[in-house]
């Protein structure tokens, strides 16, 4: 019973094996990819392991406080930012091993020529509750 974030990057992850961008795929390949993602989420709902998922637009801005009474400063996006998050899925599983197994399965989503993308996904544990009994 631990939550993990499966994090997908636009940029910043090591290159995928089947590293052809989606705009180079056929319509059917795109449909097959989207269907695979839906089926994966449905499967996790059915196993009682699904928590949530979100996708993020690539364009964003940096924002910071600029002092009392002033509007926040915005800047960017910076093209040189190394890490660009594309989206995530949150899962609730019994073990780290299970989280890795599921991330591996998600990474097998089909891409160009219907072959798995072998995309690198980041698996990050959530902080849980502090246990009551520690001594």
């Amino acid at each position: 019973m631990a939550k993990y974030l499966l994090l997908k990057h636009y940029r910043g992850a090591p290159a995928s094996v089947n590293d052809v961008p989606m705009d180079q795929w056929t319509q059917d390949e795109i449909t097959a990819h989207i269907q695979y993602m839906r089926d994966f989420a449905d499967k996790l709902s059915a196993t009682g392991e699904y928590v949530s998922e979100q996708a993020l637009a690539p364009e964003g801005a940096w924002v910071r406080y600029d002092g009392e009474g002033k509007p926040p400063v915005t800047d960017g996006p910076f093209a040189e930012t190394k890490d660009l998050i594309a989206g995530w899925m949150i899962i609730d599983v019994d073990s780290y091993e299970r989280a890795v197994e599921l991330a591996g399965e998600l990474s097998a989503a089909p891409g160009k020529d219907g072959k798995p993308i072998h995309e690198w996904l980041e698996v990050r544990p959530f902080y849980g509750n502090a246990p009551t009994i520690t001594e």
Partner: protein
Amino acid sequence: MDEALIRSLTPSVLGILVRRGADFAAAEDAVQDALVEAIRVWPDDPPRDPKGWLVTAAWRKFIDATRAETARRRREEHVEPEAGPVPDTDDTLQLYFLCAHPSLTPSSAVALTLRAVGGLTTRQIAQAYLVPEATMAQRISRAKKTVGDVRFDQPGDVATVLRVLYLVFNEGYSGDVDLAAEAIRLTRQLAGAIDHPEVAGLLALMLLHHARRASRTAPDGSLIALADQDRAKWDTELIAEGVEILQAALAQDRLGEFQAQAAIAALHADAPRAEETDWVQIVEWYDELAKLTDSPIVRLNRAVAVAEADGPRAGLKALGELDDSLPRYTAVAAYLHERDGDEQTAARLYVEAAGKASNLAEREYLTRQAARLNRQCR
């Protein structure tokens, strides 16, 4: 309306439906539906006989569901289940065994136990574990399928039940359901259904830790170490009850890990001030505990106890014999180095330990320790 009463009646109502011939999965769904209806109806129209009301309502839900299922299959003929007599036997214990069946994963066993034995609604369980209600519903439904072929009258293993209850207790408090209190209630109920020293040991352990709850965290939610807790805030009634239950269990002379853990908690509870803690006895109990379980937490905590009993060097020596990749190893090392007067090493290790913490409260606690020492070292 007394929601606690509804919860306490859940296992016996479920047991009655199963005895009358309903299969476990369908009976459990029917009882859940009846509970939800009771929560809705009872406040305005409290029943004279709550258990009878629940049995009748659950049986009606079961019949309705069976009819719907039969209609779905378009069977022309079907035999409607007859309501048999309400038997005298209490099936609560069997339900605990079934819901903690070894074929279930820990999270499924926890969810099923909380619903079928604890009488919590799927929504409450989902909120407590911060997952969507649909996910929790699926988890429970799969768990029921997994145990679908398990015979209800088969004797089970108390140890698996205790592990599930321990997990629920240790999850503490999140959402509107107080899981620690719920775990205590379920363990108390189990102790009423079976005379077993380890059940008593776990109940004592929970009570002794629950007694300290008010002193474990500051108003801002930050952790307070045992030595720094305000002992006036400890619940002396819970401590007295825990100690009494533990002594009766130990008198049966069948030691187990929960009794040993409870004995350690009782020794802490017994010290009016942290400095008066009987660490020599605590080390002896950790030695007993280490014989009963190979838990790394036990070995780490033993090293801390050795340090308190024989000095920090002895503690560091005990720690040195352990695998440094154990969770919380670095945190213990930091603490022992500080006790040994090596504040620079301790500060460095506290920072490292904070990076490895598995929860936010612990990370903050360890970071504060590092910050305190760094300020002193300047």
